[in-house]
């Protein structure tokens, strides 16, 4: 059984490694530690007795072999060149106890008897330590936003461990039952004849009337009405519009209510989840939003993503600030909108001259992703194309991607890829005190509860001075694991994927669950840049519904998979209720 630490498996050691460890005390790789050499900036670890040593096979005197192994017991260097010969294996066979060796160029442990690379936590820790020492020698805290970029470095303020509260189940007693009964209205009311009761259909499914080119708003509203934590917040009466208006409004005794987008949202949730299935007109909401976003108050040419951002901003602004709570960005303590959508991005910029790395953290409410530029004719793809038929082009992302198709994961891979900043974007290096070429890498420090991915389907040609829409298909999964894009994973890969707890790794196993997401809403756009139509697909009880303004219809999941996604909404899997899942209709 291999043990797990921080979501990583520590592989089962081979018997020779077990034997080696038992014979060599608590620090079996102590001797190697001093020989670990790391070339800055951000270089790979190598094993050299002296920095300028050229390792040579003691049997055949060759130094140009791709694989040279130094015996950990006696430091003899041997080459390993299957299927021709393996002087390393010969060495292991000739002297018992000398089976374990280390790859001098890659700092990887090798068992010459098993002829396979093996892994050891203590050795990895030693390598990471050596790499960190090299890195911290060229890193220092500076400025108000940069933070120490070492492996176990300080976390951003608002991520200090919150004490978890133990779950205590609660049920109302008889007195509380009476109170609940007297002060609530049942959802399933048989006497209410106006309700189109259909218990097979999910609650909260209701069309939204188009008020005149407002499908940009309707599409986002449908997604938000079914965003699990947001839905729960409003349906649990966490923002009571009557109380809010009474408490904060009508100072001058005017008949008009005080502007509060959260109050309008509360009214909308009440209406949409009331059981009434006739289409709802979000007129009051539009009115409120136009007062908030005066510059966007025009019924033509609106963008759904812009509306989404504006709306979150509106909820944030109008909610009364609790002075006691910390207002640090990204913590989500300020308002429900940010509590749900806000995450934290980490940006590392490394000077290519000296290796000095500057780290900054910034909040974000969504992820805007670009397509890979200029795929040419390979944008089209058919399911018949196999891996064999594609050419090795820039559009082949990763080993397991179909060539020619852009995918959400490939966009995220590109988003978190180390980018060389060009000579026109030189970064001021604190250590060198001059502008240097550098390497920038983004990663996700904290995932939001709900991740909204916005696809930039917009192409501006500076030559032609016009813009056009990018209709390219983007594959998106129904289940998404964001673990590879977390800061801990990115940092780990930068240090060679060593078995080691990295900054951002949570000590408890629940962190593994919180990087898994489920898709619940897709906003699609069809048509041209200046004239088109938005439609939202919702996933409820594992059935997909198409929300086209007032028209709600059920669709097969393949329609959604094949659709041209513009905004995709994913919720953390642990918040996604699967208990009520029905059999997939397809």
């Amino acid at each position: 059984m291999s043990s797990k630490i921080n979501g990583q498996v520590s592989p089962q050691p081979c018997p020779h490694l077990v034997d080696f460890r038992s014979r060599n005390g608590s620090k079996p790789f102590r001797a190697l530690q001093d020989c670990i050499r790391v070339k800055p900036p951000g270089g790979r670890a190598a094993i050299r007795r002296e920095p300028s040593e050229v390792p040579r096979c003691s049997t055949c005197e060759e130094s140009s072999r791709p694989r040279l192994y130094a015996c950990v017991a006696c430091a003899a260097v041997s080459c390993h060149a299957p299927p021709l010969h393996s002087h390393a294996s010969a060495h292991a066979l000739s002297i018992p106890g000398h089976e374990i060796a280390v790859d001098v160029d890659r700092a990887e442990i090798f068992c010459c008897a098993c002829r396979d690379q093996v892994y050891d936590r203590d050795f990895d820790a030693a390598v990471v330590l050596a790499q960190t020492i090299t890195a911290t020698a060229t890193t220092s805290t500076s400025g108000s936003t940069a933070m120490q970029c070492n492996v176990t470095g300080s976390q951003p303020e608002n991520l200090r461990k919150r004490r978890r509260v133990d779950y205590r189940p609660w049920a109302p007693d008889s007195r509380e039952h009476v109170i609940i009964g007297n002060h609530s209205i049942p959802l399933h009311d048989a006497t209410n004849a106006s309700l189109i009761s259909s218990t097979e259909l999910p609650w909260g499914l209701r069309g939204l009337n188009n008020l005149g080119n407002t499908c940009f708003m309707n599409s986002v509203l449908q997604a938000l009405l079914h965003t699990p934590p947001l839905r729960d917040y409003f349906l649990s009466d966490r923002h009571n519009r009557y109380y809010c208006q009474q408490k904060n409004g009508a100072i001058n005794g005017t008949k008009n209510s005080r502007l509060c987008l959260a109050c309008d949202m509360d009214a909308m949730f009440s209406a949409v989840f009331s059981g009434d299935r006739t289409p709802y007109s979000p007129a009051k909401f539009l009115y409120s939003w136009w007062q908030h976003a005066a510059n966007l108050a025009s019924y033509e040419q609106q963008d759904a993503h812009e509306f989404f951002i504006s709306m979150l901003d509106g909820i944030h602004e109008k909610v009364e600030k609790d002075k006691r709570k910390s207002q640090s960005p990204g913590s989500g303590d300020c308002c429900i909108a940010h509590r749900i959508f806000s995450g934290i991005l980490r940006s590392d910029v490394m000077c290519l001259a000296c290796g000095f790395t500057s780290t900054t953290y910034d909040p974000c409410v969504d992820f805007s992703l670009d397509f890979e530029p200029n795929q040419g004719g390979s944008g089209k793809s058919s399911s018949a194309k196999s891996h064999n038929s594609c050419s090795v082009e820039v559009d082949c992302m990763g080993s397991n991607q179909n060539c020619g198709i852009s995918t959400l994961k490939s966009c995220l891979e590109r988003f978190t890829r180390a980018e060389r900043l060009g000579s026109d974007q030189k970064f001021f290096c604190q250590k060198c005190q001059v502008r240097q070429e550098s390497l920038k890498q983004m990663s996700i420090r904290k995932l939001p509860l709900v991740s909204c991915f916005h696809v930039k389907r917009f192409e501006h040609s500076s030559i032609r001075k016009m813009s056009r829409k990018v209709d390219r298909y983007l594959q998106f999964p129904f289940s998404l694991d964001m673990a590879p894009y977390l800061s801990s994973s990115i940092l780990r890969s930068r240090f060679g994927n060593r078995i080691f707890p990295f900054d951002g790794d949570d000590q408890d196993a629940s962190n593994e669950l919180s990087s898994e997401f489920e898709l619940f809403a897709v906003v699609t756009h069809t048509g041209r840049l200046d004239a088109g139509h938005y439609v939202t697909y919702l996933r409820l009880s594992n059935q997909w519904y198409k929300c086209d303004d007032a028209w709600i219809t059920r669709v097969n999941e393949s329609i959604v998979r094949a659709a041209q996604g513009y905004m995709m909404f994913y919720v953390q899997k642990m918040l996604y209720y699967k208990a009520s899942e029905k059999q997939d209709a397809s």
Partner: protein
Amino acid sequence: MSAPNEDNTQLSSHFFGDLLDSIIVDVASECHRIAKVGLDRNLEEEEEELRLSAQARASVADPSNSGEANNKYVVDIFGQTHPPVANEIFKCMNCGRSIAAGRFAPHLEKCMGKGRKARLKVTRSSTAAQNQYSRGSPVSTYSSYTNSTSTSRLSNGTPGFAGEEYSNGTYEGEP
């Protein structure tokens, strides 16, 4: 005895071979570690998603499949039909007039004094419009707390309006 040129070719070929072998081992070693340490555990799920997507696209493209009804004359899942322009009547919260839902937005635009038809406004200059668009840098942008100017806007609605126009900022409060 081979000519000097041939020696050089053989030598450079030999060096190239060594370099290539070394790079291959690099990749093998890294992939081996990733596999052993369990960092690629979702491979099957990812491939399944890709397969399902390809399958879905093929089935949607197939003309023999009844596609989703796109017109506005379908019956929804509750058994209702709706007119193309929503005809629910309600009172405008700004002026009190009774308006049909489908015409509410254009009415409100004029009623609130916004929109291009309501009054004269400053139109954005063409340079300002150009500056709004990014250079298409490979690094993706992300939204911060402030209301970011979007570099990617997909509009809905009828065409015919050349540029973007905005009101000059002040808005009239409730009448």
